[in-house]
């Protein structure tokens, strides 16, 4: 193992591997350390969805940019990460929701996201098995999509290594070395790595890493919540290609896996705060109650797998991204709630540029995601979250 690098990135999920790749691309001597295997945190447990349909300017702009990145990512990384623009379809059950959809659509359109209001009949054309009678209208954006998280993490890390990055799996950071308010490196269970820049990309575990650097654990109050998924046997392609979500039905969603066609089903039931990721029976019943209401034919489809992972939540469900002012060389990108996978390409690029150039061309609103906002008692409007 190397004992010195320019930058150490802690955490090998979609965020950390993207940051490492973008740093290596800028010629930085970077090391990434991951306590288990790459993706073992939230990333390999996610629902694969990528959307621009948020309810605030900062997230919409960042995600519009990210979709452009996702479109070119397979080519750029020379590995097919299976990004598909199969859309996101939100469904309204009340007139108030239809009005809210109209407002959202105006906001999306203002930033160039081509969301539109559709009828239940149109929704049924997009999702043939939909129980369309229960809904008044749809908020549809065909340019949202999905990608394969396993391949994305693999492709980022493979390319990063090709560009000179070192990646150490099963290597746990046990302490951060800080002298005179400057970062000097990290201690791991396999030895010390000296570096003047350390990036905390550990998402649900970020407060533990912050504490190692001498910060208060609640300086950035990220809390781990257990969220789960149930996956069915494969259906014929094209049955439920977009992510389909009636927010009023407990934020439940269904989406066909872009890889094997099985249906991924989620719902808003959460447990925690907890680091436990044991699947629970209450979730199985709750999620299937809604999923079979959205798509009644799912009753006859076999459930194959259930798993759980973390939503790393901040009080406003927006991540903390940026520089920690009180410790020179210490950066963070964590607390991504239910939407960190979709943000990974642009966040990695912006972080790498921030570290190397002090600024970025990525339309990422640093003030919005400011890690210091909680300390000041400021919150953003809550980022729209599903599941």
């Amino acid at each position: 193992m190397k004992s010195k690098a320019e930058v150490v990135v802690i955490g090998g999920g979609s965020t950390g591997t993207s940051i490492a790749y973008h740093l290596a691309k800028l010629g930085v001597d970077v090391v990434l350390v991951e306590k288990e295997y790459l993706g073992s945190g939230s990333t390999f447990r996610c629902a694969t969805g990528i959307r621009q349909q948020f309810t605030d300017e900062a997230n919409i702009k960042l995600q519009k940019y990210n979709v452009e990145r996702w479109k070119k990512l397979s080519e750029e990384l020379e590995y097919d990460i299976n990004f598909k623009q199969t859309g996101y379809l939100f469904l309204a059950t009340t007139e108030e929701e239809v009005e809210a959809f109209k407002e959202n659509i105006k906001l999306h359109n203002r930033f160039g996201v081509p969301t539109r209001l559709i009828t239940p009949e149109e929704a049924k054309e997009i999702v043939p098995l939909l129980n369309a009678d229960e809904f008044l209208a749809g908020q549809w954006n065909p340019t949202d999509g999905k990608a394969n998280p396993f391949k994305t993490v693999f492709a980022f890390s493979r390319k990063a290594k090709e560009l000179g990055a070192e990646i150490y799996e099963y290597t746990e950071v046990t302490d951060i070395i800080v002298e005179n308010n400057e970062v000097k490196g990290v201690k791991t269970n396999r030895g010390t790595i000296k570096a003047d820049v350390v990036v905390n990309a550990t998402n649900a575990w970020a407060p533990i890493i912050n504490e190692m650097a001498g910060l208060d654990r609640d300086f950035i109050p990220i809390k781990p919540y257990k969220h789960q998924i149930v996956k069915t046997e494969p259906l014929k392609e094209g049955q439920i290609e977009p992510l389909v979500c009636p927010p009023a039905w407990n934020d439940s969603y269904v989406i066909q896996d872009g890889e094997d066609g099985g249906v991924i089903c989620g719902t808003g039931l959460e447990h925690g705060p907890t680091y436990d990721v044991t699947p629970t029976y209450d979730f199985l019943r709750e999620v299937l109650k809604w999923a079979t209401r959205i798509i009644p034919a799912l009753k006859y489809v076999h459930v194959l797998r259930q798993w759980a992972g973390q939503y790393a939540k901040t009080p406003d469900s927006n991540p903390a991204i940026g520089k920690i002012n009180s410790i020179d060389g210490f950066y963070i990108a964590a607390g991504f709630s239910g939407h960190g996978f979709m943000m990974a390409p642009g966040v990695g690029e912006a972080m790498a540029e921030l570290i190397v150039k002090g600024k970025t061309h990525v339309p990422l609103d640093w003030e919005w995601y400011d890690p210091h906002r909680f300390e000041r008692g400021e919150l953003r409007s809550t980022a729209f979250q599903i599941g």
Binding site: F154, K299, V301
Partner: protein, 93 residues
């Protein structure tokens, strides 16, 4: 052996010995990543057939002892169950 003379290791997702070996030769020797890139153990049988074989392939190719290679998590419900049964909605059918 399949028609093409390939040796199928994972029957659910039709993954061959050759594919697994090729990945290990590229340096992907961790069972968790092999599982996710090739989808072994993610089909209806939950890896009952393939995972022990994959472990011995990794052990043979990397020189590790099979005991050092941990099995990936088994996911409930273990055997496929229709969603309608789990929501209690198929009583009269």
């Amino acid at each position: 052996m399949s028609e093409k003379g390939e040796r199928i290791i994972c029957r659910c997702n039709e993954v061959t010995l050759e594919e697994i070996e090729a990945l290990i030769e590229q340096g992907v020797a961790d069972i968790e990543m092999i599982k996710r890139l090739l989808r072994i153990g993610m089909g209806p049988c939950q890896g009952r057939t393939c995972l022990p074989m994959v472990i011995s392939i990794i052990a043979r190719k990397t020189g590790k002892s099979p005991d050092e290679i941990k099995l990936p998590a088994t996911r409930i419900p273990i055997r496929p169950v229709p969603a309608g049964v789990l929501v209690g909605d198929m009583n009269e059918e």
